[in-house]
């Protein structure tokens, strides 16, 4: 297909819908939710009613019958107003529901997917461990087979959407049967004895999103909770992260665009040295740079998502999208605060919140360093 930058009419309509919802419902509450560290179950469920949590899934599984590209459009527009809710959507669909869709049996899909796709329930993605991070394969969580059950012991860190009032389960990676190379995925329901959800972290940003540490102490799950093939758990989870990079890039673009929105408005209103500050080149150029970054980063995630939709290789483009968009987001948020001067260091305007929220984008779902490593490997450079 030739190059086209035109969204389909239903994608344009979706983008308008999410934009309107974000402005009407999310924006008025964003600061208060952030300040109180409140996870907005009602907004999540309203987004569920719009169909956002089911965008990439077929209707027969409770989904909306759209695409991953559509999901990323929605994430960008939510993230343009509130990053906490943006990551809740990203993680809810991309990390919570997607493993069930991609690796679940027909029975598992029918059992677990519909409530997630309707936004009524959430699931977590238990990969990272206290000593893991970028070395995600160095797992300590173990699952031992015991007749028709698995017994799980270990812990996970920084798991999004694992401890809300509507969190149903987490899918995790665990080393099976003492062989460190054999990693398998399991679904662990929230109410399973021995599964303890921690109290949360004191985070720098994303205050209105739910992030937990998890502990598994002789947690017993039945054999039918094994997700995907035995031994394929690590590769399966990495493939989830490949796609997730596009979604995080979209979230970062939302942040940059949100900075532009706020700065353009403020640069008209605030006067200094006898004119609106937007008339001063020092300010105008900062905002112009932000918009340049937003559009470049958006083009890159569109490209990666388009390749993915075409069934073509997209990993390098996804890594570039994530790397560029998230680093540009940190820069944009810093400069947006600068445009606002002293007010940029308060929570009176959204840019201060964006500044807090930006940093994690360079870390979560693959650090900038991991992205550079993946791009270098893709270029055929020698492995370390």
């Amino acid at each position: 297909m030739s190059i086209s930058f035109e969204l389909r009419p239903e994608q344009e309509e979706l983008r308008r819908l999410v934009r309107q919802f974000a402005l009407d419902k999310v924006a008025p509450r964003a600061e208060e939710m952030n300040h109180r560290g409140e996870f907005p179950v009602d907004l999540v469920q309203e987004m569920g009613a719009l169909g956002l949590f089911g965008l990439p899934f077929p209707e027969e599984y409770g989904g909306s019958g759209g695409t991953y590209f559509d999901l990323c459009l929605a994430i960008e527009e939510i993230g343009r107003v509130d990053q906490s809710l943006g990551i809740t959507l990203e993680a809810g669909v991309g990390l919570g529901a997607m493993p069930i869709w991609k690796f679940g049996t027909e029975e598992q899909r029918r059992r677990w997917l519909p409530p997630l796709a309707r936004g009524e329930r959430l699931a977590g993605f238990g990969l990272t461990e206290p000593g893991g991070g970028s070395d995600a394969g160095a797992l300590r969580t173990r699952a031992l087979q015991d007749g028709d059950t698995w017994v799980i012991n270990g812990s996970k860190s920084f798991i999004t959407n694992a401890g809300t009032d509507i969190s149903d389960f987490v899918t995790i990676t665990a080393v099976t049967n003492q062989d460190p190379r054999e990693i398998t995925n399991f679904v662990v329901p929230r109410d399973t004895p021995g599964f303890v959800v921690g109290g949360g972290y004191r985070k720098v940003g994303w205050h209105a999103s739910d992030t937990r540490d998890l502990a598994f102490d002789d947690v017993v799950v039945p054999a039918e909770h094994q997700l995907g093939e035995r031994g394929r758990g690590f590769a399966n989870f990495l493939s989830i992260l490949d796609e997730g990079r596009i979604a995080i890039a979209a979230l970062a673009v939302g942040l940059i665009q949100g900075c532009v929105d706020e700065c353009v408005r403020y640069a008209h209103e605030r006067e200094a040295f006898g004119k609106p500050i937007g008339g001063h080149q020092a300010v105008a150029f900062k905002i112009a740079d932000m918009q340049a970054a937003a559009e470049l980063a958006r083009n890159q995630w569109w490209h990666a998502a388009w390749l993915m939709e075409q069934g073509r290789p997209f990993k390098r483009q996804a890594s570039i999208a994530k790397l560029y968009a998230t680093e540009a987001a940190v820069t944009a948020a810093r400069e947006a605060c600068q445009v606002f001067g002293g007010y940029g260091f308060t929570t009176e305007y959204p840019v201060g919140r964006f500044y807090q929220d930006a940093k994690i984008l360079e870390i979560g779902e693959g650090t900038s360093e991991v992205q550079r490593m993946l791009i270098a490997r893709d270029l055929g450079l020698p492995r370390a």
Partner: protein
Amino acid sequence: MRIICPVKRVPDTAAKKAVEPDLTLDRDGVEAVLNANDEWSIEEALRIKERTPGTEVVVLCVGPEQAQQTIRKALSYGLDGAIQVSDPGISGSDASGIASIVAGALADEEFDLVIMGNQSSDARTMLLPAMLAEYLDLPALTYCTKLDIDGDTVRAEREMPGGHQVVEAKLPAVVSVVEAINEPRYPSFKGIMAAKSKPVVVKDLQDVGLDAEMVGLEHAWTQVLEVTPRPPRQAGDKVEDDGSGTVGAKALADFLVARKFL
């Protein structure tokens, strides 16, 4: 029950409006949206549909080909089908012209209720619901804040200065609604997708029993003679205080008293 929701494609109210040399609105230069007041009528029709099984809601839009986008938007809320009247001869019609076109489009349709927004955000004549009822020879219940259907009767509360009126009429009837009637829902993505495959019947002037000699700019009963943009907002009064607080406070109090706030 069958409900018709006439809707209008209007320039986005947030956009800067421009006029063509013939003093009609420039509709190509700005983003067009579904008239906000029509979201209330669609919502009300959907609520009746949800209460009354077997109800069909059809959107009706007079407008050029681009109005398909507005129709799809209306359908995305969950309406069942659409009628579009599109003809080059319609361009520039006034309220009476449009009312005759809508009436013509409904001449062969079976319906129990026409629900529409009380006004459009671009022309703001507020004439269409009453004119349409006149052309159709049906009762008109306008400016409604509450609607109840009971058998073949529609009962409504009408917004009045300082209160409301309760009125009723036999179906079929034409009803116009105001903002207080409900809070419109958002469409869902499923609704957006489903809207793509809903049936849209397109009619031209001949199909609705009219011809270009009866409608359009040249045959409008009313004529726009002049369009003047609103003058830019004047700078407000500045209240200076001498540091004591009393001078400023008095000036503010005088300001409020002069405008009968105090």
